[in-house]
Structure formats: C-alpha cells, structure tokens
C-alpha cells in the first residue's frame, strides 16, 4: 500500500470552504448549483442517490467540492448525508466545525450504530458522518459488507449521499467505493492536475465499474466578464 504523503497546506478558513452556505449569491455558489443541475441531468434512467467525489491527486479540491455540493443540494430542499470516507486525511469535520471522535470507522467495526454517530451540521438538511478514528486498514474496511450496509441505510434515510474519498492515484479506496455508489465525479484543478494522471484516474475508475458522471474543474482562471451580474 502506497503511503500517502501530502504537503501541508495552510488551514483554509471555514467561510472559504463552505462558500455555498456563507455566501449564497456568490458566483462560486452559482457554479456549484450548475454542477448540481448537471448531475441531476446526467442521470438519464437511474436516479442518483449516492455520489462519490474523488480526484487524481491530493489537494485538487475534493473535500471542498463534496461539502459545497452537499450544501447546494440541501438548499434545493433535499436531505443530504455527507460521508467522509477519506480515511487518509479526513477533513469534513473541520469544514463543518464538528468533532471527529466517533464516525464511520466505528460503524464499520460495529462499535457504534450509524444513527448514533451521524451529526447534524449548522447547514439545514445537511448531516455528516465523519471519518472517525483513523484505522490502519482503510481499504479493507471500505471493502467490507458493512460498508455496503452503511450506504444502503443512508440511501433509505436521505435523499442524497455524498462520499468524500482519497485520491485515486494514491490509494485504491475510491475505486473500492466507486461501484457501491450511483455516480462518481472526478475533481480536477486547473494548473495542477496532470493530464496523464487524469487519464489513468479515469481508466482505474472505469475498471472498477464506476458510473462516471463527469468532471468538475476547480481553480478555473477568472476572466472579468463573469462578474457582470455580481455586484
């Protein structure tokens, strides 16, 4: 198993990460809404009730995309459960300012009931299942029968389940989860995601029978024309 080393980033302010909740009129929030709409339309025959968010490498904006998507979907009146399945570097509890002493790992190891560890967030209709204590064997846990049960139960209770996962090029976690969900989104970052890595990421996910919905491009360079309506 490749050990994942990530560069330390300066802590992002909460308000920055959850822009969809903090600033509903921001053009960025609007861009997340567009993504939400496109996800709805990308499901032709099947209803998409669970989403997996991943990327090729670290630091391309998976967690930011996952949490903001959760917020804009909730703003549409749907109940959303965000599951932090990134057991290598869990961040969702920071984003929503919650504790992470119990979470998904406790449920997967059958120490806790799912309902007991799911937390309500400050955002209406958004619930969070944090990662919990970091386990030594994330891939095995995510590949377990229990994980499928967790997802099944979540699907029944919530309108939408969103999974934040580690990068595909580093570990197999995302591929393991990819065929357990209805749709997978690849997050890329302009000027950061490598072309070849992106290609491999797609190939790996296709091999894992993922239902690829599409790609989100983060960090897109801005041209001033976008701000016509934004005063």
């Amino acid at each position: 198993m490749a050990r994942l080393t990530r560069t330390k980033k300066k802590p992002v302010q909460k308000k920055r990460q959850l822009i969809a909740d903090v600033n509903r009129r921001s053009p960025i929030t609007e861009q997340y809404r567009t993504i939400r709409t496109n996800i709805e339309y990308s499901a032709v025959d099947t209803e998409i009730k669970s989403l997996l968010v991943t990327s090729a490498g670290p630091g391309e904006g998976k967690s930011t995309t996952a949490s903001n998507l959760a917020v804009v979907i909730a703003q549409n009146g749907q109940t959303v459960l965000l599951i932090d399945a990134d057991m290598r570097k869990p961040t969702a509890h920071y984003t929503f300012g919650l504790m992470n002493n119990r979470g998904l790992t406790n449920v997967l190891t059958r120490q806790q009931k799912q309902d007991d560890v799911i937390q309500e967030t400050n955002v209406e209709n958004v619930s969070l299942l944090t990662c919990g204590p970091i386990p030594p064997n994330p891939a095995e846990l995510l590949n377990s029968k229990m994980m499928e049960l967790v997802l099944q139960e979540a699907r029944e209770k919530y309108d939408m389940v969103i999974l934040d996962t580690p990068p595909v090029m580093a570990v197999a976690d995302a591929q393991i989860l990819a065929n357990k969900v209805d749709g997978t989104i690849i997050v890329t970052s302009s000027g950061k995601t490598d072309r070849e890595q992106l290609q491999k990421t797609k190939e790996n996910l296709v091999k894992a029978n993922a239902h690829l919905l599409g790609v989100v491009l983060n960090n897109k360079p801005v041209d001033d024309t976008t701000y016509y309506y934004y005063k």
Partner: protein, 233 residues
C-alpha cells in the same frame, strides 16, 4: 495533436509569467552592471596616424603614384603588426611583454582609398597606450626604408595622453543594454519552455480532449473572484 498558435495564447503565456519576464532581464542587467563597474579593468585607446605618400619629384601628384601607395597600405598594415616591428618596439621601450601580447593590443586600419593609416593601441593605462602607439609609428617609419626600400611614410599625427582620459571599454551602459535584451530573450524562451513542459490541465476543453467525459461545471479560483468582485463593485 494539432495546435494552432494564436497571438492571444502567446500573450496569455507571457502575461502568466510576467514575473519571470521582469526578474530575469533585471537580474542580467544587475550582473552586467556589477561586472562592468567592478570586475573588468578599464581599457584606454590611443592612436597615431601615418601618411603613406611618396615625395614626387616634379611636385605634381601622379595618379599612378597614389594608386601604388594605396596598394601598399595593406602590406604596411601587415608589416606594422609583424614581429620585426613589434619586437623592435618592445626592445626599444624595454617593455615587459611578449610579441603576442603587444600584437593583440595593436590594431591597424585605414579608410578605403585613403592614404592614411591609423595605428591604435589598447592598454590599461592611457600613458602606456600613448607611448606604444607613438613608438610603433616611429619604429615603423624608421624600418620601412630597410624593408621596402622606399621611404614614403610620414607621421601625420601623434597620440597624446590628454586630460582626464576616459576609458573606451567597458561601456557599462552598452553592456547593461545588451544584458537586458539577452535577458529578455532568455526569459521569453524560458516562459514558452515552461509552458510547453507544463502537462497540467487548464480548461474544460483540455478535460474533454483528454478523457472524453462531460464537464459538469467549473469553479473559479476564490481569490480571483474576490479580486474581480472588488473591481466591479
């Protein structure tokens, strides 16, 4: 992959790396300024002019004579730089240099169709340059009858040390200007090289080309959104 290069793209590439385009020429200019002022020793130049002209008996200038003289000038230029003359000069002035050193410092030139030959010597001191030039001119004038068996060289003007001599090289301003141009070219080249070596995705179009998946949406860089919002509001 077929690529069309548009002016807009070129401009975009340069705009993206404007720091490079400023930093490299600036650094080159700085280095060149430092080297010009502190490292290189200033060199001085002095020159003497010789006239190659035969005394014509009847006191009239003959076309043929002038042409002969002109044809001699190239030969004279070679002779001036020959060991025979220069070694004589070294001996006469008791100089502490080899023939090679002196030969490198001397340049001989003449305007086309003119009977005037200019001897120029470059040296680290104006005094030495003056001394050498004059010495070469004198020795040459003395030796010519021996070598060519005609006496048709006269000294037209002697070199002078002069007041407050200014060095001919290095020319700091010129060097800085050259450094700027070279630095700018290097920076532009580097900018395009970096652009070419950059294998990251940039736009939605890149993504569609590479993995043929729909782009669900793009999220702008938050900092630049803030900046743009400040600009427009």
């Amino acid at each position: 992959m077929e690529e069309t290069i548009s002016l807009k793209e070129i401009f975009q590439t340069l705009k993206q790396r404007w720091r490079l385009l400023v930093a490299i020429p600036f650094f080159a200019m700085l280095v060149s300024a430092i080297i010009s002022s502190f490292v290189l020793t200033p060199m001085y130049e002095r020159s003497t002019q010789l006239l190659v002209n035969q005394a014509v008996p009847e006191g009239q200038l003959n076309q043929q004579v002038v042409r002969n003289n002109l044809e001699l000038i190239d030969t004279y230029s070679e002779i001036i730089k020959s060991p025979r003359i220069l070694n004589e000069v070294i001996e006469a002035e008791g100089l502490d240099m080899t023939y090679g050193d002196l030969e490198a410092a001397v340049s001989v030139g003449s305007q086309s169709n003119s009977q005037v030959v200019t001897i120029t010597v470059e040296s680290e001191s104006p005094t030495e340059a003056t001394l050498l030039t004059n010495s070469i001119a004198t020795v040459f004038q003395e030796q010519i009858p021996d070598i060519m068996s005609i006496d048709n060289v006269s000294i037209l003007s002697e070199a002078e040390i002069g007041e407050d001599p200014t060095p001919v090289s290095p020319k700091p301003l010129l060097n800085i200007a050259i450094a700027f141009v070279v630095g700018l070219m290097a920076a532009v080249g580097l900018a395009f090289l970096l652009e070419y070596l950059d294998t990251t995705i940039k736009t939605e179009k890149d993504i569609e080309n590479i993995i043929d998946l729909p782009v669900l949406g793009a999220v702008s860089n938050m900092d630049s959104v803030d900046a743009a919002a400040k600009k427009t509001s």
